[in-house]
Subunit: 310 residues, 2 copies
Amino acid sequence: MQTNPLKPHGIYSPVLTPFNADRSPDFDRYVKHCRWLIDQDVGLAIFGTNSEATSLSLGERHKLLDALIEAKIPPHKMMPGTGACALPDVIDLTRHAVQSGCGGVLMLPPFYYKGVSEEGLYRYYSAVIDAVADERLRIYLYHIPPVSGVPIPHTLIARLLSAYPVTIAGIKDSSGDWSNTQAMLEKFQPQGFDVFAGSENFLLRNLRLGGAGCITATGNVNPGAIVQLYKTWREGTADESQAKLDATRAVFAKFPMIPAMKAAIAWKTGRSDWGTVRPPLVELTTEQSKELHEALAGVNFELPNASSLV
Amino acid sequence: MQTNPLKPHGIYSPVLTPFNADRSPDFDRYVKHCRWLIDQDVGLAIFGTNSEATSLSLGERHKLLDALIEAKIPPHKMMPGTGACALPDVIDLTRHAVQSGCGGVLMLPPFYYKGVSEEGLYRYYSAVIDAVADERLRIYLYHIPPVSGVPIPHTLIARLLSAYPVTIAGIKDSSGDWSNTQAMLEKFQPQGFDVFAGSENFLLRNLRLGGAGCITATGNVNPGAIVQLYKTWREGTADESQAKLDATRAVFAKFPMIPAMKAAIAWKTGRSDWGTVRPPLVELTTEQSKELHEALAGVNFELPNASSLV
């Protein structure tokens, strides 16, 4: 499907960041979780929204990436989030990712000011590219207006692609608006700009229109089935497989997603500290956990090889 | 009006951050601008929204505050913004402010995730207070939902005030919704929780209901007249003075506010680099600058003692 096997494609997951009870990152469980994902053919979109990346300091992000590199996790399968409000931070994080050999970076727009101009967003991305000044850099734009409050319009993509046709490599569309994904698949995918769906709900539709795959939170808890659909989407079972993915995701989506995924891993591994989140997020209540377990049992939820996670 | 003269009250301004042509902070002009504000009885809400604080790295913020301290600008007149998405950053910035002797800190809620729970916001603020663990800490909450996307509900204020009655010192209300300011003046100001209006448009109304003053962007460009109303609000001229303040502010509000204020200072000081902003903000165009000059002339705009700014 892809001519270059090293080019990011397929299923990526914004890697959950495990914390100790004191809310410091647990490097050991982090490495194990990443290895577990890689073993199931899931790429590592570390430092995404579902990684609580904006709740981590720059220093913590550096150390977490370094820990993966030291553990020999293959960097070309990593796509760290490096977008931030302050350009010096974005440049620092992006440079670190490129110098570590990461296959790409997933870049939020600056998300504090709202209603900023397209010219301002263009200057932000071009300032990063010019400052990092490394031909290995591959940027995947991150369109997630329900959270960031700052959309990435198609006119901005066209302008960036025209100025930096190699560096601007693709997008994750987490708008939840399929018509937006579809329009980008039609307009930009033929130019080699890889469109990733923002969840597996849109995986089959995305692949049928030539998309690159999806980058999805629930890759953290349901990797096997999602990857399976990616590998078999041309077969007759595809629609049925998609329906099963949707049913599992719907369970997690009934709860605050990040605490629910962490609670599911805590449950299946027996490690309660897997449930820990950083404020402003809040762990599931006992009552919510119970509801989650019952609902997950209803979709025959399993975490394969869970013992390797702790 | 206030029993403790060192307690923040009156007029504060989110201090504009001057950049060099390469967008690095200009420490010299920064110190001069702060001294100019202090000389006009305007307190220094450094690192606010209009300071482009979220566009600065932590290291830059440290150096800028240190430059003011070294220049003998009185720290009790400073109220640095220290809110951020990542708790380690908030704790670092807040500790630095307290240890520098700042009169208070203005604290944004974590602003990446939207729709977070009140419990999560409570945990954020209490985690900072517990980690900084300094009885000198005075927190002013920062309610600016049009930008942050994360409101501070009254039930949260009540809970924080109950747990930390001395540390939780007040709020800046930048909602633009007078009914919200009024409700807080009635509910919380009698408990010694100081309510600052988010712009001088609400200054007179705020003072008449017992408020502490205002923290306003246009304090950067119209300090004299705003302070004058604060000092004379009980006199018969107050309504007329308020109308004049509103007219001047309306000129700036017709343009992107931060670039417009910087352009006005660039114009009056003859230093074009005062106009520089960081992406995602964009400088005014030549056409916009011309319109701004004409509109400012219409309200007899002057920058007193502008030569001391460069």
